[in-house]
Amino acid sequence: MTSGDMPHRVATIVAEALNVPVERVTPSASLIDDLGAESIDFLDILFRIETAFNIKVRESELWDGTIDRTSQETIDASIAQLKVRQPDYRWDRLPAHPAPSDLGRLITVQTIIQHLQTRGVE
């Protein structure tokens, strides 16, 4: 693997973990809504990412990184920012004011890619 192909490697990892065709693993695909991930799969993907990129990843940083869960206001504000960054996500599927239990559905392939970028992985 050459440097710079991290997004493709992430897509392959997610496809292998969830046993879905890699073409379905687009950056805006929600791991839960589009790819059928269940809670144990998040751990599986995390372990695979750690092995593939030889890094330690804190779960909270990877999955919650972009959402401030303090209150409904902070959740709404975080989501407004996310909408700008991820216009391709199917926002119509989420309620207008998502509850904390909805937030997992916001985790996309791009969420993983962005986290790895902040860690300097290319």
């Binding site: 969830l18 046993n19 269940e38 144990i40 799969d41 599986d44 372990f47």
Partner: protein, 254 residues
């Protein structure tokens, strides 16, 4: 003859996998309270591992940490080459993971992950620890659950992995008995643990379990810890490859 001294583990080094929290933390504390130097393995919850270590030290015991992802053979090797390089006398394999769903819906990756943590990790840890275990009359205890021999709803992959764990316990028990290594397991019923209480269906599950349990209560971590202590001591010397069921009698009723 009095056997009190058999429960003194002073001078013994014990690895407790998944010792950071839940049942594993109580097992680690119990072995430490009986004199063992305990090494706490965990993978993600460092704060909990540190808290358990501190609780052991506060009680006058001795404990180290050994983070390692038990799904990875290279992590297990590194753990034995690093924090455990002095070898161990006792291995308690308590770490476990699961996807709570029916067996017929378990996916390949979920099966692999569950099997690797719950069952394969015992094999790999025993392989790494064998030189020291064999030299020092070692004890290996696997923590299983009723789902290994019975069918628990929504317990698919975990139950199958526990069956594998109990089978592995029998094989290792027989293969290693001649080398002075004692391998046994304990299978618990539903335990009253903070992590279990967090599950949305806990209230109903607990009520059903208590209703079906002749002893009329849930098991506690301490109930299991006493049995693990017994299996770590020479009191259980004549047991080889057995799985002790500890469930207040629930699995005996129809």
């Amino acid at each position: 003859m009095r056997y009190d001294s058999f429960l003194d583990l002073t001078g013994r080094r014990a690895l407790v996998t998944g010792g950071s929290r839940g049942l594993g933390a109580v097992l680690a504390q119990t072995l430490a309270a009986h004199g063992a130097h305990v090494v706490i393995n965990y993978v993600r919850h460092e704060a909990e591992a540190l808290r358990t270590q501190q609780a052991i030290r506060d009680a006058g015991g001795s404990a180290d940490l050994a983070p390692a992802n038990l799904t990875k053979p290279e992590d297990i090797r590194a753990m034995f080459a690093g924090p455990l390089r002095e070898g161990i006398d006792i291995l308690v394999h308590n770490a476990a993971i699961g996807s709570f769903k029916p067996a017929h819906e378990v996916r390949a990756n979920q099966w692999d992950l569950t099997m690797n943590v719950n069952a394969r990790a015992l094999l790999l840890c025993v392989q790494e620890a064998l030189p020291s275990l064999a030299q020092r009359g070692g004890r290996v205890v696997a923590v299983s659950s009723l789902g290994g021999a019975r069918v628990i709803p929504e317990y698919g992959a975990v139950g199958v992995s526990k069956a594998a764990l109990e089978a592995l316990t029998r094989y290792l028990g027989v293969e290693l008995a001649g080398r002075g290594v004692h391998v046994n397991a304990v299978a618990g019923g539903l335990l009253d643990l903070p992590s279990v209480r967090q599950h949305p269906g806990f209230g109903q599950l607990a009520a059903d379990t208590i209703r079906r349990t002749p002893s009329h209560r849930l098991g506690t971590a301490d109930d299991i810890a006493r049995i693990v202590l017994f299996l770590c001591s020479p009191l259980s010397d004549w047991m080889v490859g057995q799985t002790l069921v500890a469930d207040g009698g629930m699995s005996l009723t129809v």
